[in-house]
């Protein structure tokens, strides 16, 4: 599923929103998560998972073209830890709770 497909599904499920409005909201949500991590914060979505930063140590690397050694500085990367509910849903150990009604057509 792509971003625009997701936007269509959401717009359909919530009546009264155009795709354009929905895309704006989706953007606000995703940007909100990104910005929080950029500030060094952690984002916790219960039932879904947590987004946080992982720090990669500085290391020495080589430029494969010239062979010179370069220092790669400390780097922060986004990391997602899957929440318990989502983990179990995907593994099929428990019946999916939000599956019974609302068939996406």
């Amino acid at each position: 599923m792509t971003r625009s497909e997701l936007v269509s599904v959401l717009a359909e499920r919530l009546n009264g929103y155009t795709k354009r409005d929905t895309e704006k909201i989706v953007k606000a949500i995703l940007d909100g998560i990104k910005e929080a991590l950029a500030r060094g914060e952690k984002v916790e979505i219960r039932g879904f998972g947590n987004f946080r930063l992982r720090t990669r140590r500085e290391r020495k690397a080589r430029n494969p073209k010239t062979g010179t050694t370069v220092e790669v500085p400390v780097k922060r990367v986004p990391f997602f830890k899957v929440g318990k509910e989502l983990k179990e849903m995907v593994d099929g150990k428990t019946p999916t709770p939000s599956e019974s009604d609302s068939s996406p057509t």
């Binding site: 792509t2 959401l10 606000a28 909100g32 998560i33 950029a38 219960r46 039932g47 995907v90």
Partner: protein
């Protein structure tokens, strides 16, 4: 930041009521969850990709007791952040 803070953020950015913002946040994550549980991945350009990977069975060991056990095949979710997400986060001032 929690789901509630995220709702506030949307409420400020977009002209929605708090109730509507909450509905939208809930629905977004529920839809992603449902899609992943059907084994389908989600590609959100500018953000990243959530995908489902199947892991085969393997032998494991209880680290406490040393007893060998069979770890059953399972499906797990992985997230790969997009280039934009990575570069937004990369050089933090406070590390």
């Amino acid at each position: 930041m929690t789901k509630a803070n995220l709702v506030d953020h949307i409420y400020e950015k977009v002209g929605l009521s708090k109730k509507e913002a909450m509905e939208m946040v809930e629905l977004l994550f529920e839809t992603i969850k449902d899609t992943l549980s059907q084994g389908e991945s989600i590609k959100l350009s500018g953000f990243g990709t959530f995908s489902v990977r199947s892991k085969g069975s393997r032998r494991g060991r209880n680290p406490k007791t040393g007893v060998e056990i069979e770890i059953e095949p399972r499906r797990v979710v992985t997230f790969k952040p997009s280039v934009q997400f990575k570069s937004a986060v990369e050089t933090g001032s406070d590390t």
